[in-house]
Symmetry: C2
Subunit: 427 residues, 2 copies
């Protein structure tokens, strides 16, 4: 370090190791600052591929690289595993709790909040209790045990009704996560598991996808939604649109269809991909700073992603409410990077306003083994071409982290060989 | 099937999906029988590589292929996930409990028992409570969280004493599992994690390996034990031999050394690799058949691996007591295959006695990234040559199950690139 000994280094604390927090930290690599990244888990999470862990394609390590390994060459960055439990915006300190229960106070000069979203059950305790969420590695592994365990139970039972119950998979929410899960469970039932059972055919499985809206993938152009719907139907997925969940139980789901009629379906696997809200950290920040939250708990920020009245605090990624920007990895990366640049510019004496401008790089969802939809501005792709676009983008992105050979091999095994290698489960 | 409709097919039940059960089942592929393999987990377990899951090298799926995928092309085999809770040797039936708590009675004509071993804490509840076992995927994943979590806590704490406690890893038992774990934690501390922390050097970690006997790897020739001991010491592992564990606590281990003195070491990670005993299934079989059990609970069998007085029941693998044969994967495979052949021969009218003869293919333990010991009869190899032998044997074996490209890639990443990719953990 060629810095004078007594120079006070600007301390930046980043909360969260998702796309927003990680890209903010990386963008500060050459800045004359000390960055501390605080996150509750020890890993980044490549959330768009979480459904592949839940369905036995990828291992947890393949979508969750250790944060400190990703940042090990960035000398000005320190990674701390802990949960932020308090913020004193006047004193500029955070209260942080370690996994062993011990607490620390961490001071900052600038703060970047990137806490992301958690599953929202709309405050319904029965929904939370009786449906699997899909936001963390832990969620995905529990769901994986549930899905493969359901097929095990179907092989075990001799009672056709019980077997049908175990072979019914109800998914609530037809956004990308719900669609991708439905598609992959369809692939399991119709392709990957076909030769593995003796007492039933996995193709008997019913996969029900429920959504309150009139079409799947509502953020995509209508034409692509329609294509994705047909691809799902070819995999045996039943679409129940304009349909609301009325109740969930330990063994069943009750819905209200477009005709207003209530119907109960026995289903041993119920998956909740219907809603998210800002992580509890957003409440802590709102209370400490007076920041306004929208109905999902996201914090309203100024044009440069900082909090009004607190130019030293930035909120980025899914936790941020700015101009109706969607909750996409790409938005998180770009806003994380933007906040870092605003801070670096200020330290260099440049105080001009820097409004964030989103560069739309498109959005995509994989529907089946060889079919995906991809929307880039006005252009849309589907089927095999969409899938190739999906593959290229995801490979490019994963290799940005490091060479992910094992991921490529697992994809080849799954997409060409039809096998699912990652599905060991235990009690 | 060209079999007449009313022919009664001989029903063979195999209990256990480890090496013994799986190889017994496979050896019956062409026999005119119906095989039902019952196991409590959904996967086989390549137990010799369990330490690589615990230390972040391999994913769980890589050492635990789904049993029904391994057997999917064997039309005469049915796989059932369940736990055997009772045996009626007169009626020739088993009581089996499914993961959902429902029970079934499964009849057999021949029975092959391959239930394996569980961790034995010698009946000491404090040992069980305060030390990690290392027998299942679940054990390995919990230990992985503990090991990588300990390094996280060392980064977090500012107190040198607490840091030292988090960086102390106590391993009880210097057989292959204890030695391989100690070696890989040494690799983590001195090679893989070196650049990842800012507040301490991972090389400060203390790795203590305790054993009651006078040397490590007691089943290997003395020369190889000495070589392995030197390789461990080069990795910073402290060997405490002729040393007995007196007590375990939540944060410490107390041992009695060769001089009879008691010493307590503060260690946040305590691993138990000191003893195994037959799984509870052995007790069920002993009670139902009057079979004799040795002090590890293993069942004494006749020369052909059948139970005396019950020629239709075979016990194979680690759960079997026969001529002091060691608890090795190779013994389990060979005895499993042997029991299958005895049954098939009987069905073909051949009732001649068929004593089991063990073909000793050697035994090996990997000490570090590039060093292993391998004993083949009178010949022994160590260092790089031993490691090459280890690699060739394990690759050959794994590819026997299926193409395990991802395993090879993960090994390359670990052994050449020094990285550990599989270490995402959660609370």
């Amino acid at each position: 370090m060629c810095r004078p000994h007594n120079e006070i280094v600007h301390r930046i604390v980043v909360i969260g190791s998702g796309f927003g927090g990680l890209f903010a930290t990386r963008a500060l690599k050459r800045a004359p600052v000390a960055v501390t990244l605080i996150a509750a888990t020890n890993h980044h999470l490549f959330q768009p591929l979480l459904y592949q862990v839940a369905t036995g394609i990828l291992s947890s390590g393949e979508i969750a690289p250790p944060t400190r390994e990703v940042l090990r060459r960035q000398a000005n960055a320190t990674v701390v595993q802990g949960e932020v439990t308090g913020l004193d915006a006047g004193a500029r300190t955070l209260a942080v709790l370690a996994p062993d229960g011990s607490a620390q106070t961490v001071p900052y000069d600038s703060l970047i909040v990137a806490g992301g979203m958690v599953t929202s059950y709309f405050g319904n305790a029965r929904f939370e209790r009786y449906a699997h969420g899909m936001k963390s590695i832990d969620d995905a592994l529990r769901l994986r045990s549930q899905i493969f365990g359901a097929f095990e139970m179907a092989e075990w039972t001799a009672d056709p009704q019980r077997r049908a119950a175990w072979l019914t998979f109800a998914i609530v929410g037809a956004g990308p996560t719900g669609v991708e899960l439905a598609g992959q469970i369809g692939e399991l039932a119709h392709r990957s598991l076909t030769k593995e059972f003796r007492n039933f055919s996995p193709a008997e499985a019913r996969i029900l996808l429920f959504d309150g809206g009139p079409r799947i993938l509502p953020t995509f152009p209508e034409r692509l939604s329609a294509k994705a719907a047909r691809a799902l139907e070819r995999l045996g997925v039943e679409l129940h649109l304009s349909t609301l969940v009325a109740d969930l139980e330990e063994t069943a789901i009750t819905v209200t269809g477009p005709d207003g009629e209530r119907r109960t379906v026995t289903a041993m696997t119920r998956i909740w991909a219907a809603g998210v809200r800002a992580a509890p950290l957003a409440d802590i920040v709102a209370q400490a700073t007076g920041a306004a939250a929208d109905r999902l708990g996201r914090l309203a920020v100024a044009e440069d992603c900082s909090l009004p009245g607190h130019p030293e605090i930035f909120v980025v990624g899914d936790m941020m409410a700015l101009k109706d920007l969607p909750g996409l990895a790409e938005v998180a990366m770009q806003t994380g990077r933007h906040a870092a640049r605003v801070i670096a510019a200020r330290l260099a004496g440049d105080e001009r306003p820097k409004p964030f401008r989103y560069r739309d790089l498109g959005t995509m969802a994989a529907v089946s083994r060889t079919s995906a939809v991809a929307a880039f501005g006005n252009r849309g792709f589907s089927g095999r071409i969409g899938w190739l676009a999906w593959l290229v983008v995801h490979l490019a992105f994963l290799t940005g982290f490091k060479n992910r050979f094992t991921t490529v091999v697992h994809w080849a095994i799954t997409f060409i060989g039809n096998a699912r290698e990652e599905r060991a489960f235990w009690s």
